[in-house]
Symmetry: C2
Subunit: 496 residues, 2 copies
């Protein structure tokens, strides 16, 4: 049995290492790839991804895990090894249920769908993408049937991104939250929208500032690096090699810095995963929602806090000069926290962002449950934007075509964004109780106790607990949106 | 049969793609890798390299090639397919002769030897490295016995880097050349060594200049990129993705630019390999000597020519400013072409460089033939440096420990450097006959006809011809060192 566990760990490590090579090909594609090299890179990636899939679905590998899961064997395992067997089996069983032809069909469809979506968005014409979305919905419905579910087929999709999540749970969390948010948005509409004077921020200075802040938050540059890519992302190869990217705007330093703080949050999670379980679920992030909570807690609860802005303000003067920073710390704080409905999800503020997710969730669920068809999406989208945000969608590019997710064949992903916001608020509430002088520490640029709490309560556990259990374990409460609501209310009502 | 050739091409492509992933791991290690990530990167590389080796020595793959090599099948192949079968078989047969335990022993030894060499060099104490060199020589002797040879066991090693090369051929080329070079070095010692005033060259300006020059020479930045690494190198994944690196010195712009021109020469070869034979020997470089000829012809025959310096000079003023360039074009030309014995091979001029190779060749050959032992190397080295270059080796770090090659287990590589010089001079002689106004073109910054000649006579052939045949085919002459000698003589005697 000890030998079998050793064999399993070795096989997992082999899979993980090959996965790291695939990940490097992807990182390099985003960050470095010469223009003409995309075709060949695609071939190399496809080949290695196929090798990886083969290793993961290898019969002897599956049998090994299944044998270790037999009650008499499983019960004698250490608790860590039980986690490994349980989680690897979870991955395998999901993969096993989906027939190869569906995987292949899906790969073929989405490679075409991406092109169609890009063209549709560019021309702002939903009808170009519609037939692909129709097929994507059908494939996802078939997938849900293969996976199985109790209540809604949408549950089977959610579970891939957030173990244990169901449409009902999303509704229980989102409905009370968003009905309160609607009121907040109306309140905010009565207030004056803060502005700051226009300025030009030097790119080289921005890069240095971004690196300094990431390092200050705890990101280890000896185990990572900061590069530039069109869409900021975090990629991990190993806790000793977790890389982040950003993109610079000369008009708005927060575009890069806000995104760097967000990605630093993701990266701190990956750098904090345990080294000795590497290659196994003990050293893997547990879910997209928990991952997003780590980026959001740093972006929104640290980065946009009054105390952080106080810490940041003199640095802005150091890096960009007094002539550039023609506004006060308080004006900057108000500007960073302005609430203003925006048609684009990724450009939205903390409050309205969740309404974007609500409407996507409702549309996806209706699509998968067969209540609506792909062709109904734009009208429904626009009506919901009007209802939730009070603004008119002027064209599909700014509406139902704005996100890449569906073109990748992905449905069920969006709710993890708001879940991340909910988790982050709940975690922050617990941290601020555990560390009473948090704001003072942030003002002084001391983020170590804050990170230490996340390391201790979240990062070190890998996939030991399911997401809900992990939040319960860390905060002593069931998952609830009340902390997020309280946080947003105090921002709007008390300017905090 | 057509099916078999198709299968072979597909298998080769699979091997090449995996090789590209391994190459990317290596490039990233040199250019990007965070400090703490080296251990894990080593694991990933070892795993993928083992997979690659398995694919290359797969029985069904070998049988496929051997079946295609049967006379009745082979004769019916197209000439291109014959090249593929011939060259793949050449690679396989060499690999087959070496037993796996020797490969393993060698991998284990050299991973230790590298550390010992680094320590020995750092402490300038040859005795730390000596026991490893002794074992490396023994392994190379065993390898030579497995490979087989007619005259000297050293021939079996040379052939790995330069197909068809033998110790006798090296002697026939090197002995007359170097005896003349000794005289030239003595002559040069009588002349005043040119200098230029000290200056500080801005790094950002240097990077821009290096990119501009590489592009001007014909390097396609849409199929490559220029980065920084401790030791400049060229790496290829595909003709659409060939990357070069350099390193900048603020005191000497030529350190980066000279090396960029050198690496650009390597890269132009790789970017010029035929796309449609990709994955097969039709799209692979033929030998190290030919590869080096491509870097040297650009570095020495273009980059250090009077006409190129005339083209470069106004650019230096543009990029660095008049205050920095406190010397004339003629002074710069003389400085770039100064001849002055140097203990370090990689810092040597065009003339004395070849003496460094001669002494390494003689020592390696004696080691492999068993005439001397590892412990004899430093004294012999120092005596030869005194004899060939007229200077004293002050310590082993500046002597027998300066090069990394032996620590990698590699013997028989060095001669390809001088071979590259010899080939480059012979090629240049032919080009200058084919294109009579070459100097005028260089002065105007027109390098297109020059590159076109190399593309037509060298690059497009891949491994179609053996190196000697390729030179004969391109120049109409057998390989000879007379052109290199004439070139160096005219530089020293006539200042040309």
């Amino acid at each position: 049995m000890k030998k079998d566990i050793k064999t399993l760990r070795d096989k997992l490590l082999t899979i993980t290492r090959l996965g790291s090579a695939v990940a490097l090909l992807g990182w390099d594609e985003e960050v470095n790839l010469p223009k003409k090299a995309h075709t060949y890179r695609g071939e190399v990636q496809a080949q290695l991804a196929a090798d990886l899939h083969k290793k993961m679905t290898d019969r002897s590998f599956i049998k090994l895990v299944e044998d270790l899961n037999k009650a008499e064997v499983f019960d004698a395992l250490t608790s860590g090894d039980q986690v490994i067997v349980r989680e690897v089996l979870r991955d395998i069983e999901r993969a096993k249920k989906i027939p190869e032809e569906l995987v292949k069909e899906s790969a073929e469809l989405t490679s075409q769908a991406f092109g169609a979506w890009a063209e549709a968005r560019q021309k702002s014409t939903f009808s170009i993408f519609e037939p692909y979305l129709k097929k994507i919905v059908k494939l996802n419905q078939r997938e849900a049937e293969y996976i199985g579910y109790t209540e809604s087929p949408y549950d089977a999709l959610l579970d891939a991104f957030e173990p244990g999540l169901t449409a009902r749970k999303v509704e229980d969390l989102f409905v009370p939250l968003t009905s309160e948010l609607k009121k907040l948005i109306q309140q905010a509409a009565q207030q004056k929208i803060p502005t700051i004077p226009k300025a030009t921020y030097d790119r080289v200075a921005q890069k240095k500032l971004n690196e300094a802040i990431a390092a200050k938050l705890g990101y280890d540059f000896e185990a990572g690096r900061l590069d530039v890519s069109p869409h900021p992302f975090t990629i991990d190869f190993h806790p000793t090699d977790v890389r982040i990217t950003t993109r610079y705007s000369e008009e708005d330093f927060w575009e890069a810095l806000g995104s760097t703080i967000h990605e630093t949050g993701h990266a701190l999670y990956q750098q904090g995963l345990p080294l000795d379980g590497f290659g196994t679920p003990l050293s893997e992030p547990v879910s997209l929602g928990i991952h997003e909570s780590q980026s959001r807690i740093w972006e929104n609860f640290v980065g946009k806090s009054r105390s952080f802005v106080e810490y940041l303000y003199p640095l802005l003067i150091d890096y960009f000069g007094k002539q550039t920073i023609q506004y006060s710390s308080e004006e900057l704080y108000a500007w960073l926290n302005r609430v203003q409905p925006n048609l684009i999800r990724v450009e939205s503020d903390e409050v309205t962002y969740n309404m974007h997710i609500l409407l996507r969730f409702e549309i996806e669920k209706s699509l998968i449950e067969g209540d609506i068809n792909a062709k109904d999406v734009p009208d429904l989208w626009n009506a919901k934007v009007k209802e939730y945000l009070g603004i008119n969608v002027s064209n599909d590019a700014l509406g139902a075509l704005q996100d890449i997710h569906w073109s990748h064949g992905t449905l069920g992903y969006f709710p993890t964004y708001t879940l991340g916001n909910i988790y982050s608020a709940q975690l922050y509430n617990s941290i601020s109780k555990a560390i009473p002088n948090l704001s003072e520490q942030f003002t002084k640029g001391n983020f170590k106790p804050f990170l230490a709490w996340l390391r201790k309560e979240i990062h070190r556990y890998g996939r030991t607990y399911q997401p809900e259990e992990l939040i319960k374990h860390a905060t002593g409460e069931l998952v609830s949106s009340k902390h997020l609501l309280a946080h947003l209310e105090s921002k709007i009502n008390k300017g905090e």
